[in-house]
């Protein structure tokens, strides 16, 4: 059997195709394979066609391909929608109680009959599908049953009974071998970034539900006792950001998460955090389109919005990790940076990272720790906005002995009293400007730009965020250079100059309609020769990039 293959499982919403996909991924994961799952669903609760595209490989994978090797159809719609993507040697494994196909490469399984025979409900049809498929590809019953016992805490016996019937009834056509490498857990990007933030000392997560960031709220709410954190859902995004800034004022580390629309509502609060110098992390997980847009699909269309969000002269850390492990690392890093520089920051991801599932190497968590911010030395009178050399004023919190901490949204003096005279206003702005210089220096010390592919190549593609996954694969196959920009503000000018050394042709790739990164690069004097933009709210495929880039170089 191939070392890199794809499985697509689909059905109407509510039929459990995602759960089935996850179990299949975990089966392969337990055998040492690396996983990437792209989940495709619409903004509805019942009906439609949901599918999970599971890529399985012996090497790390960060994107899914166009071609499918196994098409698992819980309903007929899945076959209609996806059979054209089936590889020439691909196999259809289908619900034969519902669908009839005359095709040599199709194997039917009577999942509805099996479930009925065992006395289960329609919700268990996906169990039969998974078990039959496991047998088809030659996975041992012991491996499958062990996993199912873990996965089904309720109706364990019944699910196992159904699985056994399906397993015994299916013919083995392949043999999947266990790999000699460590099995890795699988996590969504939302879960991975949550772990990173918790490792860096997160105390609070405030949110209002919004796809694709909702998974963070669900994950942290489910594990708040394990992580010793507090999770609160408030009345709207405006309450969310203002409460988070309030909590941070007391010394608690707070993060909020939303998508573009929610962040639009938060921008005044974002500006507040900049003005009153309160540490705060906003996770902005982009989705398609403006306004309500395309809620459950992906895009990189909020870059310029995030760069400019918040009125006034403010500088933020804007960091765009490219996969789950990077999201975890940078979620921790950005929380620490926010506290070090007492500034609001944005972790910019998208649906493709938030809701896709990745093999996750937990080693990345060892690189994250809670870094101590600059605290008051308890000498003299406490001045919240002390005019220091590097612009960073030591922190103290309400409730501490001898502390009067005055946080102010208005321009203020060192103590925190409102001022309006020109001299005082300029003095405080200068203090913040000196802090911005320190933030810029910090970016030079971080791995803000990464290089992949052939490092000496004269042709390079430049990407940011989730486009890293498919682009990296394409660059490696094409033998060209790939530049990934991770920290976008403050802009890592030195590292970019180094990365661009020797590059004669630069091609930009991003999933938005206007080429937003090009405008950013231009403002630093970097010229892009060609752009490849995708804006149907679906992520790039590696093969698609390979084909398009080939035509341009």
């Amino acid at each position: 059997m191939k070392k890199d293959f794809s499985i697509l499982i689909g059905g109407a919403a509510g039929k459990g195709s995602r759960k089935a996909g996850l179990i299949i991924a975990k089966l392969f994961s337990s055998l040492g394979y690396r996983i990437f799952i792209y989940d495709d669903y619409r903004s509805l609760i019942r009906g439609g066609n949901n599918f999970s595209h599971i890529r399985v490989s012996d090497k790390k994978v960060l994107s899914h391909r166009e071609k499918i090797d196994f098409l698992l159809a819980l309903d007929e719609e899945t076959i209609k929608q996806h059979q054209s993507d089936l590889d020439k040697d691909g196999i259809i494994f289908y619900n034969s109680d519902h669908i009839s196909i005359k095709n040599k490469k199709a194997v039917g399984i009577a999942i509805e009959t099996m479930v009925e025979k065992a006395g289960g409900t329609f919700l268990m049809e996906n169990t039969a599908m998974v078990a039959g498929f496991a047998k088809l590809i030659g996975i041992d019953w012991s491996v499958l049953s062990k996993l199912l016992e873990k996965e089904f805490k309720k109706f364990t016996g019944l699910n196992l009974k159904i699985a056994k019937i399906a397993f015994d009834d299916t013919k083995k056509l392949f043999k999947v071998n266990k790999l000699k490498q460590k099995s890795l857990p699988i996590l969504t990007g939302n879960e991975a970034l949550s772990l990173g933030a918790v490792k860096a000392g997160l105390d609070f997560y405030f949110a209002y539900p919004m796809t694709p960031a909702t998974g963070i709220l669900h994950f942290l709410a489910a594990h708040k006792e394990d992580f010793n954190i507090t999770v609160a859902q408030l009345e709207n995004e405006i309450a969310v950001i203002n409460a988070a800034v309030g909590a941070a004022y007391t010394g608690a580390r707070a993060m909020v998460g939303t998508s573009g629309g929610g962040f639009a509502l938060m921008t005044e609060g974002f500006s507040l955090a900049a003005q009153n110098e309160t540490p705060l992390v906003v996770v902005e997980s982009q989705r398609g389109g403006s306004a309500s847009g395309v809620p459950t699909y992906t895009a990189q269309g909020d870059l310029l919005f995030c760069l400019g969000a918040g009125h006034g002269d403010i500088l933020r850390f804007l960091i765009a990790p490219g996969d789950a492990e990077e999201s975890s690392f940078w979620a921790g890093k950005i929380l620490n940076l926010s506290w070090k520089y007492q500034t609001p920051s944005i972790l910019l991801i998208d649906k493709e990272i938030s809701e896709s599932t990745f093999s996750f190497d937990e080693k990345v968590l060892n690189r994250i720790k809670r870094e101590k911010p600059l605290l008051w030395d308890k000498k003299g009178k406490y001045l919240r906005y002390k005019d220091t050399k590097n612009g960073i004023s030591p922190l103290a919190f309400p409730g501490e002995k001898n502390v009067i901490s005055k946080a102010n949204s208005y321009e203020h003096d060192e103590f925190g009293i409102t001022v309006e005279d020109g001299e005082s206003v300029e003095k405080m702005q200068n203090k913040r400007l000196r802090k911005f210089v320190e933030m810029k220096k910090e970016v030079d010390r971080l791995e803000s730009v990464k290089i992949y592919g052939k490092k000496t190549a004269e042709q390079a593609i430049i990407v940011w965020g989730s486009t890293k996954g498919p682009a990296k694969e394409a660059a490696e196959r094409l033998g060209i250079k790939m530049i990934q920009l991770i920290v976008i503000q403050p802009f890592p000018e030195k590292q970019m100059q180094k990365a661009l050394k020797g590059v004669k042709k630069l091609i930009l790739l991003e999933t938005n309609a206007s080429g937003q990164m090009e405008k950013v690069l231009n403002s630093y004097g970097i010229k892009v020769d060609k752009k490849i933009l995708k804006y149907n709210t679906r992520p790039f495929f590696p093969g698609e990039i390979e084909k398009k880039v080939k035509k341009l170089i």
């Binding site: 000392g201 105390d203 609070f204 405030f206 010793n228 507090t230 609160a232 408030l234 009345e235 709207n236 405006i238 309450a239 203002n242 409460a243 988070a244 800034v245 309030g246 909590a247 941070a248 004022y249 007391t250 010394g251 608690a252 707070a254 005044e268 609060g269 507040l272 009153n276 809670r370 605290l375 919190f397 309400p398 409730g399 501490e400 002995k401 001898n402 502390v403 009067i404 901490s405 005055k406 946080a407 102010n408 949204s409 208005y410 103590f415 925190g416 009293i417 409102t418």
Partner: protein
């Protein structure tokens, strides 16, 4: 008086001479001094404000303070309370911020019963922006945005608070300083969400001294747990011009679990790692 001066700052007071806010500031300082005497640590008090004449008060107080955005001080205060549930938090907001811009936060904070005190400096107009109508301005209010008079009737925020399950509802008058001092003390001591609407004449844009001095009377604190009685009291005036009397005092006071206790248990996020 000497002790109360310790609560002052070097900031110049810029309210108009005769502004009702001076009465609120005096009552507040008396209340805080008394609360400190009663055992509350000064370091544990946080004054939170929005934007407007009302919100200038925090600059005049030598206390921890957080100046929030217009309409958002309640949301900020909730975060502060959750960050450190030991803190005593008083929100100072105007009727414009509280009943116009940020009314969703007022309703939800009351619903949650988070242990903060919201003190509304209700001058019934946007004063710092030079006199436009708010949700509480009477119909016919002549401001620069309504030169022929506002066409909207005000609503009764006390009724909104009762409907939002607030556990402490009171009304004060900035000229009845000792009465207001007592309301603030009781509000801060109340375990849960306390709401005090303070009638505050705006001498420049909406001078209501004459009307309030004539109509305001203090009610007795009785039957405080009866929703029906509360409804009767808060409907007596209802911010209507033609009503002869304005009752002030505590209208409603009940006990129910506070939000921060339910959410946090014994956790204190602020001190968890910083003490």
């Amino acid at each position: 008086m000497e002790n109360e001066q310790k609560l002052d700052t070097y900031c110049e007071k810029t309210w108009c001479p005769g502004c009702g806010n001076f009465g609120i500031l005096t009552a507040l300082k008396q209340a805080i001094f008394s609360l400190i005497k009663g055992g509350i640590r000064k370091e544990d008090i946080v004054a939170v404000s929005g934007i407007g004449c009302s919100s200038k008060i925090i600059d005049y107080l030598n206390l921890n303070s957080f100046s929030s955005l217009h309409g958002r001080p309640i949301a900020s205060a909730e975060g502060i309370k959750l960050g450190n549930p030991n803190l005593k938090i008083i929100v100072f907001t105007g009727d414009g911020g509280c009943y116009n811009e940020g009314i969703s936060h007022l309703i939800h904070a009351a619903k949650r019963n988070i242990d903060i005190t919201v003190l509304v400096h209700n001058n019934r107009n946007f004063a710092l922006t030079t006199g436009q109508f708010t949700a509480l301005s009477p119909k016919g209010f002549k401001g620069k945005s309504t030169p022929k008079g506002s066409i909207e009737e005000p609503f009764n925020p006390l009724k909104i608070m009762l409907a939002s399950n607030a556990t402490f509802i009171a009304q004060g008058y900035s000229s009845k300083i000792n009465h207001l001092t007592n309301l603030i003390k009781q509000g801060v001591s109340h375990k849960g969400f306390s709401f005090i609407d303070v009638l505050q004449p705006c001498i420049t844009f909406f001078d209501t001294y004459e009307e309030y001095n004539k109509k305001v009377y203090e009610i007795k604190s009785e039957n405080l747990t009866s929703e029906k009685e509360a409804m009767k009291k808060i409907s007596e005036w209802g911010y209507k011009k033609d009503k002869p009397k304005i009752p002030i005092g505590i209208f409603y006071k009940i006990q129910r679990p506070a939000y921060e206790k339910e959410l946090l248990g014994d956790l204190n996020p602020s001190n968890l790692r910083n003490s």
